[in-house]
């Protein structure tokens, strides 16, 4: 089982798909000559040539629209958005075309398109580069929204994305590119809509995805020192959402803390909490707690950015609250 960085796991999945399938091609700003802003596409231009690794101008609506057209005509484009914030320029293409063409065409055509790039905060890129966009897309029927937390997730979810027939919102995390972890030797594809119990426990369920999984696991380690045995769920996929695993976990622990990096109102944690309430109301011993980012545009200053995103201590405190152990 090789150890890879999150970045290299994504790159490896792209190379594997491009080698197997000549219809796979990449589009995006600075992905060719410049090798990718976050180096995910390093050397790919040299390896696959300019017909399959296409540098685009700054024109998100244009190149996402072009990619949708390619997908309709039988290709399998992978669009890199320099950050997911810029995808908002292509929001109409994604929401009104990519997500709906199959519906509009009565199922005659579909859009096997992957849009990928860095999401989230933590690397001092300020308000217009650091927001988390997942709920914008997870709201829309027709899209798949996945958020890998580990190199194995990145590898496995991207392989599934590159085989499916749906437009996939593939949310990487800028602060995770350098993290290392084992990636399976074999196929390793991870089905969408199946969460992972990243750490089994019996006292409280902590639900997280993307980088917050690492924060949640560290919080669980700290809770263990207090004798609290936390179960940590790595969602991997927001749409579809694996309610079954959530309910099964809460049936065991009776308490839940949901963690997200994004703003609290109407966020993913609200959907996750509602899913738990719907499926496990009678099994809850405390209200579900949400640990979220601050409800402000992301500050640039390091200290302020750190204040605006959730940390281990926030999760530990929330876990204590749902266990009624606050102040004990």
């Amino acid at each position: 089982m090789p150890e890879l960085t999150y970045r290299d796991a994504i790159r490896a999945a792209l190379i594997d798909a491009m080698e197997r399938d000549p219809t796979v091609l990449l589009l995006g700003e600075d992905i060719g000559l410049y090798q990718g802003t976050f180096r995910v596409t390093a050397d790919l231009l040299a390896r696959f040539g300019p017909r399959r690794v296409i540098d685009t101008p700054i024109s998100e609506e244009g190149f996402v629209g072009a990619a949708i057209g390619m997908a309709l005509l039988g290709l399998r484009p992978v669009v890199e958005v320099m950050t997911w914030n810029f995808s908002l320029l292509a929001f109409d293409q994604i929401v009104n075309n990519a997500a709906k063409v199959r519906y509009f065409s009565g199922g005659q055509v579909d859009v096997p398109l992957v849009i990928r790039g860095p999401n989230g905060a933590g690397v001092q890129l300020s308000a217009q580069h650091s927001q988390s966009v997942e709920v914008f897309y997870a709201h829309v029927p027709g899209l798949r929204v996945v958020a890998p937390a580990t190199p194995a997730d990145a590898w496995g979810l991207l392989r599934t994305a590159l085989r499916g027939r749906d437009p996939v919102i593939f949310l990487e995390n800028a602060a995770l590119y350098g993290t290392k972890g084992p990636v399976p030797d074999g196929d390793g594809a991870l089905p969408f809509g199946r969460a992972e119990v990243a750490r089994p426990g019996r006292d409280v369920t902590i639900v997280a995805y993307s980088r917050m999984l690492l924060v949640a696991l560290e919080a669980a380690r700290q809770l263990a020192d207090e004798g609290i045995d936390a179960e940590v769920i790595n969602l991997r996929s927001l749409r579809p959402l694996d309610g079954e695993t959530l309910v099964r976990s809460v049936a065991k622990t009776h308490r839940a803390v949901v963690v997200q990096e994004q703003w609290k109102p109407f966020g993913a944690a609200a959907e996750i909490a509602a899913t738990i309430y719907e499926g496990a109301f009678d099994l809850l011993d405390a209200p579900v707690e949400r640990v979220t980012g601050a409800d402000v545009p992301m500050p640039y200053a390091r200290e302020l950015e750190l204040l605006a995103i959730p940390h281990e201590a926030d999760i530990v405190a929330a876990a204590r609250r749902v266990l009624y152990r606050e102040g004990r």
Partner: protein, 421 residues
């Protein structure tokens, strides 16, 4: 058009029975006019119309019990069309949060015709707080939530609390069957009335769960009795002041200064109600009720006397209104009229304290080295040690004594804060 709902008369009430309808469908009703007689665990009350209108439909047959909050009738406002005779089927009345008694709701549903429309969604105020899991566990084990003390925020009952209650029940030895009495000695058995059962349950709970302590003081009542004579010379019959009214007024003024005695223990907080509402224990044919005098600290003595008289009359006649039974923050129990000199009462949860007063009787007392005769009344405060302590209880009782021994304060309105000592 609106629903008349089963009122909640007392914190522990989960359901009520419609004894009889005092109005028939189609009858016009005026605001304040009694429309039904309701039996609760404690007392029978007359339910009054909240506005003028027509009682257009009756949803509950006489003799049927329904949960608190369930609709029992439809009242149409003047000028409104009466609803169709066949009301559309709708949701069954919800078990109000806090009853934790699905069985009760089921019975009620079986007994009552379906209500005309959805009942209010919000749980009634004062409902028992419990996590969904705790509710389910308690229901599975047949443990009423009202009997469990919650350890969570604002007294929320959690899984642990229910598990403790289950364990406590399991630990109790199984009741050994009483040896059969020979028929001659058996006498007769009287089934508990609802009121008796409620008193039994609540007093047992109180003695088991509230750590009581008791503080007694002797109070010289000569000045107070003299004041009472002077007042009653001039007051009309309906406002004549009793010794109990003097005690209630003194207690109310003292409660304002010692808010911990006007409080309730609620898990991780102590609740301080905004008002001083004094329950007065009134013996009635079936047992005991504690109707409530509201805002006693803000009312002159003769108003208290007037209201207290009316309340006691309604209690004895079985005509207490829902409002009469809710919101008490402290209780005064007076066995003086029965010749009792001193006694200790059981705290009436969730209140933190109860004052038991005996008769004022001529007693030899030593003053300035000589034996004199004074009219002495013994007052015993029973208090919840989780909320207050002996010294505070003693100061509170001392304040009552000061007020009764210098009773001018009972009839003088001096804003709080202006007074010293």
């Amino acid at each position: 058009m609106a629903e008349v709902i089963m009122p909640k008369m007392g914190d522990a009430m989960t359901e009520g029975k419609v004894l009889r309808w005092l109005k028939q469908p189609g009858d016009p009703v005026r605001k304040g006019e009694p429309i039904a007689e309701i039996e609760t665990d404690k007392v029978n009350v007359e339910l009054e119309a909240e506005w003028d209108g027509v009682l257009s439909r009756v949803l509950v047959a006489p003799g049927s019990a329904v949960p608190v909050g369930a609709p029992i009738a439809i009242l149409t406002r003047p000028g409104e069309a009466a609803p169709a005779a066949e009301a559309p089927p709708s949701r069954a009345p919800e078990t109000p949060a806090g009853t934790g008694a699905p069985a009760a709701a089921a019975t009620a549903q079986a007994a009552a015709p379906p209500p005309a429309s959805a009942p209010p969604a919000a749980p009634p105020a004062g409902a028992v707080r419990a996590s969904p899991l705790a509710r389910r566990l308690a229901a599975e084990h047949g443990i009423p939530l009202e009997t469990i003390r919650g350890s969570g925020p604002e007294g929320r009952i959690t899984k642990e609390d229910v598990e403790a209650a289950i364990a406590a029940r399991a630990a109790r030895p199984a009741p050994t069957p009483a040896p059969a009495m020979p028929p001659a000695a058996a006498g007769r058995e009287v089934p508990l009335s609802r009121m008796r059962a409620t008193i039994a349950r609540r007093m047992t709970e109180s003695k088991q769960q509230v750590p009581h302590f008791y503080v007694t003081m002797a109070i010289a009542m000569d000045a107070a009795l003299d004041l009472r004579r002077q007042l009653n010379d001039r007051l009309p019959e309906a406002a004549k002041v009793t010794v109990n009214d003097l005690v209630v007024r003194a207690a109310a003024l003292a409660l304002r200064r010692y808010p911990n005695l006007n409080a309730s223990f609620a898990g991780d907080v102590i609740r301080h109600p905004a008002a001083v509402n004094i329950s007065i224990a009134v013996p009635v044919a079936e047992g005991l009720v504690s109707p409530v005098l509201h805002d006693v600290d803000r009312k002159p003595l003769w108003v208290i006397a007037h209201e207290s008289k009316a309340l006691i009359e309604r209690a004895r006649a079985g005509h207490l209104r829902p409002d009469d039974l809710v919101g008490g923050t402290f209780t005064v129990s007076n066995l003086g009229p029965y010749g009792v000199e001193a006694f200790a009462a059981i705290v009436n949860p969730p209140q933190a304290a109860i004052l038991a007063v005996g008769a004022a009787t001529p007693t030899p007392v030593v003053r300035d080295g000589t034996v004199q005769v004074a009219t002495v009344m013994h007052a015993t405060l029973s208090a919840d040690h989780r909320v207050t302590d002996g010294a505070e209880a003693a100061q509170f009782l001392g304040e009552i004594r000061r007020l009764l021994e210098a009773p001018v304060w009972l009839v003088t309105e001096i804003p709080e804060g202006e007074r010293t000592g």
